[in-house]
């Protein structure tokens, strides 16, 4: 995957390692698994951010529950997660393409950048 797309994520050692796993899956053309791993990174970022920022645990971390957590707290993240929910609804999970992966990676990277600017490192 083009490093420019995930430039913020790879600055963190832990996330860099996860991105390299995703890169290996892409090399093997296992796009579906690569996509789901990116979705897990996004879920992880949200859980960590919500804990640090609002001291809330997220036993149910479905996208809609995350949206409802941000709804009256953070307009930017609320809108980004509504976009992500639409994205999950529009992609064909049985036929994931590199375009789908690149776009989700770009979304995850910019969400992480926003969180970093707000909190500093929290992973």
């Amino acid at each position: 995957m083009n490093k420019e797309i995930v430039e913020n994520l790879i600055k963190n050692d832990y996330l860099k390692e996860k991105i390299s796993i995703i890169d290996k899956l892409i090399e093997k053309e296992d796009y579906k698994e690569a996509y789901f791993k990116l979705a897990v990174i996004l879920e992880y970022l949200n859980i960590k951010y919500i804990k640090h920022k609002y001291n809330l645990d997220m036993p149910n971390s479905s996208v809609i529950n995350i949206i409802n957590t941000y709804i009256d707290k953070d307009n930017k993240l609320y809108k980004e997660m509504v976009t992500i929910n639409g994205e999950y609804n529009q992609v064909d999970t049985n036929d994931i393409t590199m375009d789908d992966i690149e776009y989700l990676a770009g979304m995850v990277d910019s969400i992480y950048m926003y969180m970093l600017e707000d909190l500093g490192e929290f992973i």
Partner: protein, 345 residues
């Protein structure tokens, strides 16, 4: 004078698409989740009914088309014309029926927005073809899959622009370039309202998923109600797809695709194991066919269960069971999952 039906069809569908854009330009804010969730259940159903009737009228015709696929005796005859508003009215006050309608129609409205986007793109590509008709080598026919993927990428571009996500917008723009969609096409689609439909799509999908989450909360401790996750093989692709299903007692089966991995895993203890009898369902309505009524005339539930068990579980018997308001326990007897004697019946 000869009528150019191709041109006429195109004009009709452009008019329909324009109508959807106009509706969402005026009412789009109401579908934003924070605004939508401030409405009570009845107001939500009214909004969805008004929207459905405005942007995708003709429910009765679609209902009839689906029923016509069944054997004559199994078809549900509707006595009179009805509006979606009437369907919604009949559900008010029944929490799980209200939720099922909310899920079903928010999903349908989102798909109506998406279909309109595809038509809009397809019309634009047709116009380009006319422009390049003297240059055969510049003509390119998009396959349905390419049309779908390009619609998705355009959607990403416009949504990233709306949320001011520069990074995501840049990625989508590069992807569009590879699909030969440039600034001129993007601006033309913006003029036609493609971005308005993108917003309608994501807002309605978030309404759908929020309603699914709420209905899981309502249903998880209800042992009389059959609902859950159903994994079905797509007949065309042969691939497995995930559905969220609720048997809406007295109304019928409601099923929609479900995608969020966490939402799916929250249903791990609620697997839906009964047949899906209508993937293409058009609406939920408390009407029955002559075939279904013949069972209810048998007498009490016990006799209906006994008869359905004799016939054996299949899509038809399941439809009878749902319309006949049988409970999950009674369905399990029909499906041989529990023994009626053991159950004390």
């Amino acid at each position: 004078m000869r009528i150019d039906y191709k041109k006429l069809n195109k004009e009709v569908r452009m008019e329909k698409t324009n109508g959807i854009v106009k509706f969402f330009m005026k009412n789009g804010k109401k579908f934003e989740l924070d605004n939508y969730e401030s409405l009570d259940n009845e107001e939500r159903l009214d909004l969805l009914a008004e929207t459905g009737e405005t942007i995708d009228p003709g429910y009765r015709v679609k209902f009839k088309k689906l029923e016509d696929r069944k054997p004559e005796d199994n078809r549900i005859e509707l006595e009179s014309d009805f509006t979606l508003q009437e369907v919604m009215e009949s559900a008010k006050g029944i929490p799980i029926t209200e939720k099922a309608l909310e899920i079903f129609y928010s999903n349908r409205i989102a798909h109506t927005c998406r279909d309109a986007q595809k038509k809009m793109l397809s019309d634009l590509l047709d116009n380009l073809k006319d422009t390049y008709k003297d240059f055969n080598s510049l003509e390119y026919e998009f396959t349905p899959k390419e049309l779908n993927q390009t619609t998705q990428t355009l959607h990403r571009y416009f949504i990233a622009e709306k949320t001011k996500n520069i990074n995501a917008k840049k990625i989508a723009k590069a992807q569009l370039g590879r699909k030969l969609i440039g600034d001129e096409e993007i601006e033309e689609l913006r003029k036609r309202g493609f971005d308005v439909l993108s917003k309608g799509y994501i807002d309605c999908m978030s309404i759908k998923d929020a309603a699914i989450a709420e209905s899981i909360e309502l249903l998880k401790d209800d042992e009389t109600q059959s609902f859950g996750l159903s994994r079905q093989k797509n007949k065309k692709t042969g691939k497995i797809e995930d559905f969220f299903v609720i048997d809406v007692q007295g109304y019928g089966q409601m099923s929609v695709h479900i995608y969020d991995p966490e939402l799916i895993s929250s249903l791990s203890e609620h697997e839906y194991t009964y047949p899906i009898y209508q993937v293409d369902n058009i609406l939920l309505f408390e009407r029955t066919s002559k075939y279904q009524e013949s069972f209810y005339r048998l007498g009490n539930d016990e006799e209906v269960v006994k008869k359905l068990k004799e016939i054996g579980p299949n899509a038809d018997t399941h439809e009878v069971a749902v319309k006949g308001m049988l409970t999950k326990q009674q369905m399990d007897i029909i499906y041989g999952k529990t023994n009626d004697e053991e159950d004390g019946r």
